[in-house]
């Protein structure tokens, strides 16, 4: 029996004349920590939306834990959106945001058991002292930890993060990866994470998926680290540089025609 918790089969996505994704296939084993990497406009967020069942692909199919993504139970999913989409003007305390992980709704009051569970999750991510602070008063790193607590409070089997380290300092990034790794060890969770920070992700993610509308490569991180297109994209800094137009860069370590899109990728 396959131990693949996510199977993506030949999916394509078009928005009118725009092709966001083209023939993407890969499979993710249980307990993998997958870093999804690619330039802006590569279709990373669209891929995540399809995996979460929030959009249907134009072609192809996705199986998540043996069923269609839209049927995957919300209580088993920990989703952390991009910080830049968050409305900081919304009047809310940090603990209220964590409690939404238990309720699937905004709390007008917090029960004692909910408060205890939320505080325990916030202690795990080191923000329990900020429970009653307004979200508008939190730093980017603190807010990200609150979101992580919101995700962990429901003890999900799948954690999905959209650029979780964007805007964080090096210490914050290291803490975030450490927390994720510890949680993953505890519950054997599968983690999917979009990131532009390959340098940080490569040492923590078990697998990497390189996307540029098509699947460029997918496999164990240490193998993907040798992908020439990836090296060209990130240079030696580990952070994404100029994207599609970087092929003629003087400091590009590889030739421009080194990589071609791959077909199916099964990694275990």
């Amino acid at each position: 029996m396959s131990d693949m918790v996510l199977e993506v089969r030949d999916i394509s996505m078009r928005f009118g004349l725009v092709r966001a994704l083209e023939g993407v296939s890969f499979s993710v084993p249980r307990g993998a920590f997958v870093a999804i990497i690619g330039p802006n406009g590569a279709g990373k967020s669209t891929l995540l939306q399809i995996i979460l069942g929030l959009q249907a692909p134009t072609e192809g199919a996705v199986t998540l834990f043996g069923g269609p993504p839209a049927k995957f139970p919300a209580r088993s999913l920990g989703y952390i959106p991009q910080l830049k989409t968050i409305d900081r003007s919304f009047p809310a305390k940090a603990i209220e945001l964590v409690v939404t992980g238990l309720r699937r709704g905004w709390p007008w009051y917090i029960r004692k058991d909910e408060r205890e569970a939320a505080l325990a999750a916030m202690a795990q991510t080191g923000v329990d002292a900020l429970a009653d602070r307004q979200i508008a008063a939190l730093s980017g790193g603190e807010l990200q930890r609150v979101y992580l607590a919101r995700s962990l409070v429901r003890k999900p089997t799948l954690v999905v993060l959209d650029e979780p380290t964007a805007g964080m300092d090096a210490m914050g990034e290291a803490d975030m990866y450490h927390l994720l790794a510890r949680y993953q060890e505890d519950v054997d969770a599968t983690i999917l994470m979009i990131t532009h920070d390959w340098e940080g992700a490569r040492f923590h993610a078990s697998h990497a998926l390189l996307l540029d509308r098509q699947l460029i490569d997918f496999g164990p991180s240490d193998e993907i680290a040798r992908n020439e297109r990836l090296m060209r994209m990130f240079g030696f800094t580990g952070h994404i540089e100029s994207t599609h137009n970087s092929t003629n860069s003087a400091d590009s370590p590889a030739s421009p025609d080194a990589a071609t899109p791959n077909g199916d990728h099964d990694v275990s």
């Binding site: 919300a74 989703y79 959106p81 919304f90 009047p91 699937r104 709704g105 007008w108």
Partner: protein, 267 residues
């Protein structure tokens, strides 16, 4: 003097009608404000003018036509926003102008007196009839039935993508929210007037936001400000012999101005 004024039936109806309208608009207001939909109040109120004018043309009570007309416009706004990706303000602007254009055409087709439509344009709290009160009261009761949805509307207001990832039927619930707001607006315009409707939806929650630490607090404070401004504004307009709707709005604006320097700092 104020108690004496309450012996007059039109003042009793004005007070009850004003309180109901104040409750409705200040309850939905925080969601409207936090979703950056301040233009929605004005847009739907103007859209209602098309329905009111059609009612006048057909010689039926304008609300019986304006309610379904505005609900259809609200659903069209939600649908176009969802499927076109056009910004909500642009979508609202399209339907607002089309409805107003239709309203003017309907009125031009009406033979004879069409002054009733202009009552809705500027509002007349003192002209509230018993039928208006029953309709507004019915809408207030229906709004009470939507209270269990408050936590989900609030959740999607905070972050639509989180609510969607949690498998909430966000599009369906947004449609219901817009219908509820549309109905509340239509029954309110007789009191407040189409031109000033947006203030009722925006000023109480904007003032409440200055002191609230949670969204629930913001909603409670907004309702409190909405109610108290109606009572104070109504009696002030009676004492000063000024039109009630604008005076109520000035009271709301005064509360906002008082709370502005007292706003709660984050942290």
């Amino acid at each position: 003097m104020f108690l004496e004024s309450l012996e007059m039936p039109f003042m009793q109806r004005a007070l009850i009608g004003g309180i109901l309208v104040g409750l409705l608009s200040s309850y939905y207001g925080p969601i409207v404000v936090q979703r950056r939909l301040a233009f929605l109040g004005s847009g739907l109120a103007h859209a209602a003018f098309g329905g009111v004018a059609l009612g006048v043309l057909l010689s039926v009570h304008p609300l019986w036509v304006a309610v379904p007309f505005t609900v259809l416009v609200a659903l069209a706004i939600v649908w176009v926003r969802e499927y076109s990706g056009i910004e909500p303000d642009t979508t609202i602007g399209i339907f607002f102008s089309v409805s107003m254009a239709l309203g003017v055409i309907f009125l031009s087709m009406k033979q004879g007196y069409s002054g009733d439509a202009f009552t809705y344009l500027f509002g007349s709290i003192l002209a509230i009839t018993t039928t208006d009160l029953w309709i507004t009261g019915g809408v207030a009761v229906l709004s009470l039935l939507t209270l269990p949805l408050w936590n989900r509307w609030a959740y999607a207001t905070f972050d639509r993508s989180l609510a969607q990832a949690d498998r909430l039927p966000v599009f369906r619930e947004d449609s219901l929210l817009f219908v509820a707001i549309a109905v509340a607006i239509v029954v309110s315009i007789k009191v407040v007037g189409i031109v000033l409707m947006a203030a009722f939806l925006v000023l109480p929650p904007a003032a409440a936001r200055l002191r609230a630490r949670t969204f629930f607090e913001m909603t409670l404070l907004s309702v409190l400000i909405g109610l108290s401004s109606v009572v104070v504004g109504l009696f002030a307009s009676y004492a000063l012999d000024l039109p009630s709707g604008p005076v109520i709005i000035l009271v709301q604006a005064a509360i906002f101005a008082i709370l502005l320097p007292l706003r709660r700092r984050t942290g």
